[in-house]
């Protein structure tokens, strides 16, 4: 046993270093990933990156009646599930996700909140004595211990009303079927459950409630954001079977597609937004509201369905009666909703070419309280509209009838057709004099989070990647398209991620992890799963492939895996197959390694062709010799007036005194004439040309092979950018010498002049060497002025972003 274990350990080490050789230190940076790191193609998933002819996935449909008790903050629901088994496997049981169980005091997530990891930890330990603890973290623990969060599953019954056996394993529940479910068969059963909603600001998580203090400026009352709120079928896939990874709070979720009918019973004066389309508008909306909604379908700008004044009046009214809002959604992988009597509601119809893949009209809508005005009515629904436009151009027509943005405590979270975009985003401030203003940061933050979360409806709500395993597949790809959308929102719109130089600090750090790391194990989640993949794709698009090849491949991936479940390898393979470019070196460097980009330009040597003509070459050599400093002793002798012996005795002056070693001799001239007779014409042309050959030496300091991009500046004032593909490193990924032929004299060379490769150290990117000012030096030399609204003595009102004098 010991010997076997030792061998396995050795083999594992070797397998972890597939590009490292055993007989020398040469590394094959271009070794292929196929069939080594990537799984073998099969009937479900092809080597092209496309779904195979035997691809399948499960179908799970839900019919749910849910009731919100506002006084106790408790949800109670009955959920009828119809599970269709499309797998070539017999199923004797089904697994469901119970995400709310994450907040049970005895859950794996809570019990493992300790030292050293990347998750939430309330205690500062690790030294000889604990360092301290925050009051709010104690409050959070107390609430979790005392309040009894998590699902209460009160019954699971089959179609005849008979009880079914079920077993709860932390955040998972196994339901044992009465009969084995064969391929193509369906089973229907009902789950009754309830649970206590969280106060989002105290417990965290992705849903819950937020209440406002009633003041002159705010109207009190609460906003409910409800998500991950019902037992949802776990994924059963072709490559993993049941996905049994427990929910620890970070790796979000993977789910199956299905159709939903959900009836939501809330206080009568609530306004409800949800995944899907409202089915009973006549019962829950006034005639006027329904007329406004119809107008908004063809309006050029958002139309209020519930006006700010109506929302303000609504939140102060209160009622004991209830209303039921009914929603229907098709082909979605989840269902979320929000409700409040504080909600303003605006809407506008967004036209698109559905191509038969989606509707030709999508209703972009926003729900928000008066406290978020005037930012939300100005920017939210328009940001939704812009997101649909840009994202669809990079993927497929938006496939659903609605796209909604909800303001609340949750700072940013996505579900099909509905997103939560709140926290501190987009709430104006009132200064001590009562002036209402908002900052560039508030505006940027609001637009950015809405683009990001609406973008998630494409990735992963439609391109259904496994968030629990590979966060980068949805956060990274989505942040990449978010970057493209933000860059198209407004010139110089400040963006959080996307420009390559912003990732260099992370990539040089000695604590970096590969992007291909399981979600719950990642330290520095934002840099690893959001920023680095975003920047990798920006570089792939702008520098490696170019926009035409990249965009076609990226769009093909989205369309191939629309309403299907891709793995990382399906993405990698599709990008290569469609672009026609081998990218294994790129995936290895950016996604599988902790190498960083740092190429140094070590040396530049200029060479000119030897014409072999002694009249030319001897004169050139003489000129070079004479350009060297004269002997210092000879200079000093002359200055002192010392006269040489030969000057004083002319009889010693001879032939050699008048002819130096550069004098052209008759034999040299004859040899040249003989050479000319033997040369082919093309050889003679080269010898007589005035072209120069430059030798450039590079060192790969960071380890990650990348294209070498050079800007040559010439003595005539012109310049040229030359792009050398990454394959220049194939013989030696550490050092390379490359030559450049030109008929112009080069006076300087800059490596990566457009800052497009994330080169971490630019101090060695210049010939001749140049010292760039540091960020601190630039700060010292610049003025630090503000041009913001408050500094301009301007203000806005709740009704408009038009500025007025304070």
């Amino acid at each position: 046993m010991i010997a076997i274990a030792a061998m396995a350990a050795t083999l594992n080490v070797a397998a972890a270093q597939p590009i490292q050789q055993t007989v020398n230190d040469w590394q094959d940076a271009f070794r292929q990933l196929e069939d080594e790191d990537w799984p073998s193609p099969n009937g479900e998933r092809r080597a092209t990156g496309a779904p195979g002819p035997e691809y399948w996935q499960q179908q799970v449909d839900y019919d749910i009646d849910v009731h919100l008790d506002e006084n106790s903050n408790r949800l109670t629901a009955t959920e009828t599930v119809t599970y269709t088994n499309n797998a070539p496997d017999e199923l004797g049981f089904l697994w469901f996700l119970l995400d709310q169980n994450r907040f049970r005091a005895d859950s794996m997530a809570v019990m493992t909140e300790t030292v050293g990891g990347g998750g939430r930890s309330s205690a500062r330990t690790g030294a000889a004595m604990p360092e301290g603890v925050s009051a709010s973290s104690i409050r959070r623990r107390q609430q979790m211990a005392e309040n009894g969060y998590g699902f209460n599953i009160t019954s699971v019954t089959d179609g005849n009303g008979n009880a079914m056996d079920f077993t709860i394993v932390d955040t998972l529940m196994r339901i044992d079927l009465d009969e084995v479910l064969e391929q193509g068969d369906s089973v229907t059963f009902t789950i009754d459950f309830n649970y206590l909603l969280l106060e989002t600001g105290v417990i965290g998580g992705r849903s819950g409630w937020e209440c406002f203090e009633e003041t002159d400026a705010t109207g009190g009352d609460c906003i409910y954001q409800i998500a991950q709120w019902f037992p949802r079928a776990a994924v059963f896939s072709d490559y993993e079977g049941w996905h049994n990874k427990v929910f620890l709070g970070r790796g979000e979720f993977g789910l199956e597609f299905g159709d939903y009918d959900v009836s939501i019973t809330v206080p009568q004066d609530f306004v409800v937004a949800a995944t899907g389309e409202l089915q009973n508008a006549a019962e829950v909306l006034t005639d006027e509201q329904r007329d406004r909604f119809e107008q908004s379908r063809t309006a050029d700008e958002p139309v209020f369905i519930v006006t700010p004044a109506e929302a303000r009046a609504n939140e102060r009214r209160g009622t004991r009666s209830e209303a039921t809002w009914e929603f229907h959604a098709e082909n979605v992988r989840d269902f979320a909703w929000a409700g409040s009597r504080k909600f303003i509601w605006d809407s506008v119809g967004v036209e698109q070419d559905g191509e038969g893949l989606g509707p030709d009209l999508v209703m972009a809508m926003s729900f928000y309280p008066n406290e978020s005005e005037p930012l939300w009515s100005t920017f939210s629904t328009r940001a939704v509209e812009h997101t649909l436009d840009v994202y669809s151009s990079f993927s497929f027509p938006y496939p659903y009838p609605t796209a909604q943005s909800i303001a609340g405590r949750q700072g940013g979270m996505e579900y099909p057709m509905i997103t939560f975009n709140g926290g501190t985003y987009g709430r104006p401030v009132v200064d001590d004099d009562g002036n209402l203003t908002y900052s560039l940061g508030s505006k940027r933050g609001l637009i950015g989070v809405i683009i990001h979360e609406i973008g998630h409806i494409y990735y992963p709500m439609v391109v259904n990647s496994d968030e629990r395993q590979w966060t980068w597949m949805d956060e990274g790809l989505n942040s990449f398209v978010q970057f493209l959308a933000e860059r198209q929102w407004e010139e110089n719109h400040p963006v959080r991620r996307g420009d390559p130089h912003s990732i260099t600090s992370y990539m040089v750090s000695s604590t970096q992890m590969p992007i291909m790391t399981q979600s719950d194990s990642i330290l520095q989640f934002g840099a690893n799963a959001y920023s680095k993949p975003t920047i990798a794709l920006v570089i792939l698009r702008e520098t490696i492939l170019g926009r035409e090849l990249f965009d076609e491949a990226f769009r093909t991936y989205a369309r191939r895996w629309r309403f299907r479940r891709p793995t990382p390898y399906d993405f990698f393979r599709t990008m290569e197959e469609v672009s026609g470019v081998d990218l294994d070196w790129f995936w290895r460097g950016w996604f599988y390694s902790t190498d960083h980009v740092d190429i140094s330009l070590d040396r530049v040597i200029e060479g000119t062709f030897n014409t072999e003509d002694p009249a030319i070459e001897n004169a050139r050599e003489r000129a070079e010799y004479q350009s060297n400093p004269e002997s210092l002793t000879q200079v000093r002798n002359r200055e002192e007036g010392i006269v040489t012996y030969a000057e004083r005795n002319n009889e010693v002056v001879d032939f050699y005194s008048a002819n130096d070693r550069f004098t052209t001799t008759n034999r040299e001239t004859e040899a040249y004439e003989s050479l000319q007779e033997r040369l082919e014409d093309w050889e003679a042309d080269i010898l007589s040309s005035d072209e120069r050959l430059y030798y450039l030496d590079f060192t790969n300091e960071g380890g990650l092979v990348m294209p070498i991009i050079l800007e040559f500046t010439f003595a005539d004032g012109g310049s040229e950018i030359v792009r050398i593909p990454a394959e220049v490193w194939r013989y030696n990924p550490a050092n390379v010498t490359w030559t450049y032929l030109t008929d112009r004299e080069v006076v300087s060379v800059e490596l990566d002049p457009l800052w497009e490769t994330a080169d971490a150290d630019r101090s060695d990117n210049y010939f001749p060497q140049r010292i760039e000012p540091t960020r601190l030096e630039v700060y010292r030399s610049s003025s630090n002025s503000s041009n913001m609204m408050g500094d301009m003595d301007l203000r806005v009102s709740r009704d408009s972003v038009e500025t007025q004098d304070q």
């Binding site: 300790t114 030292v115 050293g116 990891g117 990347g118 939430r120 930890s121 309330s122 500062r124 330990t125 690790g126 360092e131 301290g132 925050s134 009051a135 709010s136 973290s137 959070r140 989002t200 965290g204 998580g205 949750q410 700072g411 940013g412 979270m413 926290g423 501190t424 401030v429 200064d431 900052s439 940061g441 933050g445 989070v449 956060e475 400040p494 963006v495 959080r496 600090s505 992370y506 040089v508 750090s509 000695s510 604590t511 330290l523 520095q524 840099a527 959001y530 010292i771 540091t774 960020r775 601190l776 700060y779 010292r780 630090n784 002025s785 503000s786 041009n787 913001m788 408050g790 500094d791």
Partner: protein, 168 residues
């Protein structure tokens, strides 16, 4: 003064507040320490999200741009950051830093300090608690660059104690 004493002293009076970790909003920051051969000084540059910094300074109801442009705001930022970033040699002797200033750039706040170049750069101790007094999930990454090498101190939830870094 030894760094351990300062850590204990700072925590003794701390009133810690927590904010929930949003699904898509990370509380992170980066500190870069470099030697500038031109100016013959050590540069210490912190990159934070200005929105988080405003919360930590209890100024989140202020116009942040005006705050960063004011003498009062710049002074408060300098005091706050200098108290929570402690950087010492291998014996625990703190480097005396000089606050240069701060600025906003997009979503970032950049905060600048300098210090004399250390005589010996073989070992250091870093304790970077910036913003962790307000966000329990705050992660600060400190990169030290000396002689072409990078050593990283990563501090975050459950790993707040000072970290020793060696360039041997």
């Amino acid at each position: 003064m030894q760094i351990k004493f300062l850590i204990a002293a700072a925590l003794a009076g701390a009133v810690l507040m927590a904010s929930p970790a949003f699904a898509h909003r990370q509380h992170t920051g980066v500190t870069e320490v470099n030697i500038n051969e031109q100016t013959q000084e050590m540069e210490i540059i912190h990159r934070l999200y200005w929105e988080d910094l405003m919360v930590a300074l209890d100024r989140d109801n202020r116009d942040e741009a005006a705050y960063f442009a004011s003498e009062e705001g710049l002074a408060e930022i300098g005091v706050y950051v200098s108290e929570l970033f402690r950087f010492a040699d291998s014996s625990g002797l703190l480097f005396e830093t000089i606050y240069i200033g701060a600025e906003m750039d997009g979503e970032y706040a950049w905060v600048y300090f300098t210090a004399p170049i250390p005589d010996i750069s073989a070992g250091f101790a870093v304790d970077n608690d910036i913003l962790s007094d307000h966000f329990t999930d705050q992660t600060m990454m400190t990169n030290l660059r000396f002689s072409g090498q990078v050593r990283t101190a990563l501090q975050g939830p459950g790993r707040r104690q000072a970290i020793r870094l060696s360039f041997d």
